[in-house]
Symmetry: C2
């Protein structure tokens, strides 16, 4: 059994209240006894029970984080940002995976509720709307990062998908490309559509009508697979450049291109999205749209903390930036690939 304030009280011949006061400095208490008790506490190896404190204070200083998958290079950078910010604020974080299953997601949130976390952060939730029902009961703030559900039921932090896609397309346009393809993600409908709309509006802004043949949203089992299928589907339309939903999708495109003997970037330019670490070690290193992943995690924590403080804070839309590496260049002279 751990040492309790009662044990210290006994050893110091004072009441446990006095110990409690001595240990947290404030509260009127004689410096002498205060110091004596503190020394005693140290000697006895006392460590206050956060459980007991939580019960009486009605706050646990914990944040529950639910992610779709833990072993994901994108997600994990967000978690990293969350943990850093939480740690700085004196909070601990529970991490749990929904395995991309809405039922499991709700179960995890329920578990967090039972544990009385002060706030919940959910990344890439597909069921944001479901929270509406549970929300009245669940007092804690819930902030959604990159929500993939329709509507804005809750507090949100997201990166600016539209702006990011525009950056990508402008880069390709500047390089001289005119036939630019887009390969989306069926599993992240919201952000995929946003990126697609950025792509389309940017093209349109330059007088290029989006062609359905240059857009694919493959129904694949993985992002890599989506990239492969996507490229296969788009090739007949003769793209000179492709924007992938994210870096992993774009890796799939790269693999498929390699399998087909298509040279990147001389025959086909590629732009990814996210800027996960992997991309810089590929051959060629990927030109991509950088998402401020840790910043999003930190922003989510700040938002949650502000909410706990009853400060009203507006939703955050963080902007992306372009990282030019080796997978983009001017289109080939003979612009037909297929």
């Amino acid at each position: 059994m751990p040492v309790t304030i009662k044990d210290i009280a006994e050893a110091a011949h004072v009441s446990h209240t006095t110990v409690s006061r001595a240990l947290k400095g404030h509260g009127r208490i004689s410096p002498a006894t205060a110091e004596r008790i503190q020394r005693l506490a140290l000697e006895m190896g006392y460590s206050p029970s956060a459980i007991a404190q939580s019960l009486v204070n009605q706050r646990t200083r914990t944040i529950g984080v639910v992610v779709t998958t833990i072993a994901d290079p994108f997600v994990i950078n967000i978690v990293n940002g969350i943990e850093d910010a939480a740690h700085e604020a004196g909070y601990s974080v529970f991490l749990s995976s929904s395995h991309n299953d809405p039922n499991r997601e709700m179960a995890v949130v329920e578990t967090f509720y039972r544990r009385r976390v002060d706030a919940v952060i959910v990344t890439a939730s597909r069921v944001g709307s479901l929270y509406a029902a549970h929300l009245e009961r669940f007092q804690a703030p819930i902030v959604l990062i990159n929500s993939q559900a329709e509507g804005d039921y809750l507090h949100a932090v997201a990166s600016d998908d539209v702006q990011g896609a525009v950056l990508a397309v402008e880069h390709l346009l500047a390089l001289g490309h005119r036939r630019i393809g887009y390969i989306g993600s069926a599993g992240r409908p919201i952000s995929s559509r946003r990126r697609q709309s950025g792509y389309e509006s940017c093209l349109a802004g330059h007088g290029i009508a989006p062609e359905p043949d240059l857009i694919a949203v493959p129904d694949a089992t993985s992002d890599v697979e989506a990239g492969r299928l996507g490229l296969a589907g788009l090739l007949p339309a003769g793209p000179t450049a492709i924007l992938g939903y994210n870096d992993v999708t774009t890796v799939g495109v790269l693999m498929e291109a390699r399998a087909r003997g298509l040279a990147i970037p001389s025959q086909l330019s590629l732009v990814g999205f996210d800027d996960i670490e992997l991309t810089r070690y590929l051959e060629p290193p990927l030109t991509t749209i950088h998402q401020p992943k840790e910043a999003m995690g930190r922003a989510a924590v700040q938002k949650a903390l502000a909410l706990l403080n009853d400060e009203q804070i507006s939703d955050q839309l963080l902007s992306c930036h372009l990282v030019v590496r080796g997978s983009t260049t001017a289109p080939p002279r003979a612009a037909m690939v297929a």
Copy 2:
């Protein structure tokens, strides 16, 4: 304020004790009232406070996990295994990063102790020995995954570094290589030395005396950098193949080789260690030693749970296996590179 058993008791005109009993099924209670109360609890949106339960039960059903860095492709697979196993057992996990700082590592463990986690899992700890002092006080089991500290003070789960390195070297030997280099890691002294000893003993077993010139343990700021420096240092000795401490180190070797116009694998074969996801997308895809990362996480949880159950369980040493991909082939005819 959340609904409590008292609220339900009031609504049901029974004592809160009865509610408590009704809700957990056991305890002698009339099926009628039991069911009535359960329905009521559901209607009222009751969710038991894990905090209060933890306080009385003296166990929180939480596990504290401390890692060196969250955003690490290797670590995160371990965490994934931990979370899965913990979830299955009804445990929640606290995740925290030590940022590879021993002081911070101890601080994190202290925080976990305050939160009264039932067990602690530490990956790649450099300060295992420091726990000895705190151990008497901290009743919870502490299990170390891939500990990087001298001695075996605690319960450990690790992959078999020696066996893994032997696998790698045997593969290269079988391919015909005789001048095989090893690039280690200064930051993970224990596992780096184990891999090196597997490497050396395997060579020795085949009648090849290890050459100091073919071994480098660069003092670099990152694994990639270590790989680059390592290759630069080893090249004069004319290796035809190199075993890197891990995949990221080997990526560094690959980058440096590319920069020097060295063809992989025709001029130099490369073997990594870990089998992180990245490796299969490199050009060429890396031959590597697979570590059972999720399994190590799961094993750590099982060990922790067994310990909580007072079962004595032996330390786990999980074996690795070889994954042959594109970065290894027979040595060039003219086996001198430098």
